[in-house]
Symmetry: C2
Subunit: 219 residues, 2 copies
């Protein structure tokens, strides 16, 4: 990839702030309306920048979408690093992660902020595929590390495959968010994540205690 955009590392603090403001405005518009329905004019107005400022930072739409993909991935990954979730390396913290989406339906209305952008970007610009893949990989690394720690600690049996379980959790999450959005109902995500966590727990070396208020499946 060669673009002529201003390198973020060479920007002044003020230039970096402007760049960040453009990315955030674009990310919000894209989440609401999709990539194709988000034009320069809308972004410019939302970010409060001039056309020439926009072009200097992002000479092409592709360069802007690329930056939005990385920003969305950074944002979703940061949400997984809050202290409450620990290192996603206990059954309780995985349950808490799932509940943080299931119990906040408003988070699900527009689909996964990263996944819905990923689907559209993959369709619109095949050249963005490596960027989309990078975001998913960095996100999945958090689960892979947590599940690996659980296996090394002996919470999960040696047969547990952190790669496979990570793919299950991420696929159930992404697919569940899409089905939620279509059904306008949180049941698909809740069901998919409950079942995915039950599968992870099937590798537990000791019975996993379930708080009745949040965990477990209805009889």
């Amino acid at each position: 990839m060669t673009t002529t955009e201003a390198r973020p590392s060479k920007l002044t603090p003020r230039g970096r702030a402007t760049r960040e403001r453009i990315i955030q405005a674009a990310a919000e518009l894209i989440y609401e309306h999709g990539v194709q329905n988000t034009n320069n004019e809308r972004i410019r107005l939302a970010a409060g920048v001039s056309g020439s400022q926009l072009t200097r930072h992002f000479p092409t739409k592709e360069s802007l979408v690329r930056a939005v993909i990385a920003w969305r991935a950074d944002t979703v990954i940061a949400l997984h690093k809050i202290p409450q979730l620990g290192h996603l390396d206990t059954f309780a913290s995985l349950r808490l992660w799932a509940d943080s989406y299931i119990e906040r339906e408003e988070l699900c209305r527009g689909g996964c902020s990263y996944g819905s952008l990923a689907g559209e970007a993959l369709k619109a610009a095949p050249s963005l595929r490596p960027d989309v893949a990078d975001g998913f990989e960095r996100w999945e690394d958090l689960f892979r590390a947590g599940l690996t720690a659980m296996r090394e600690r002996g919470d999960l049996r040696p047969q547990a495959d952190p790669d496979q379980l990570t793919h299950l959790l991420m696929a159930a999450f992404q697919g569940g968010m899409l089905l939620n959005q279509a059904a306008d109902d949180v049941a698909p995500l809740r069901d998919a994540l409950d079942a995915a966590l039950a599968h992870v727990e099937s590798f537990a070396t000791h019975p996993v205690p379930h708080d009745d208020a949040t965990g477990g499946e209805a009889p």
Copy 2:
């Protein structure tokens, strides 16, 4: 919704054939390039129809996308009704269903033909949400019916919840297809479906035999 498009039921056989040709051409272009990058001119050329023919059948882009959504759902549902898959009401037929995607990577390159369209349509036109939901529901009905039959027959324990297991299978499939597309690798879909099927099998009343050539997970 009110549209002025020609009612398919009132069309002559020739009119119906033209309508079908437009839908198919649009569906293929949309799968390849996305909804927003598929304009009337491209559809007209691919379908070999005039502008006025296109407009008579589909006065708005939304009416055409609505027809493509229904057509894609019909097409994917028909693929699930081939004799080899039975009624998706045995462990073997569910395994065969999963393998039919896992073993044909070329089917996964552009993502799920229905799911990728669904994601884009939900973003671009909220008014299409009920149409998207209807397609998923009709598709899920096949799994729900198969799993319900398995429970009634005693292949699955009474605790198995066909609704929950259906949501798991569909979410793992949709999410797995998206992750495949991003990674350009079939591992996420394979891992997610293997794990989802293992969870379904955890409700089996008798051990499920695995053909080494297709089923089971690596040790």
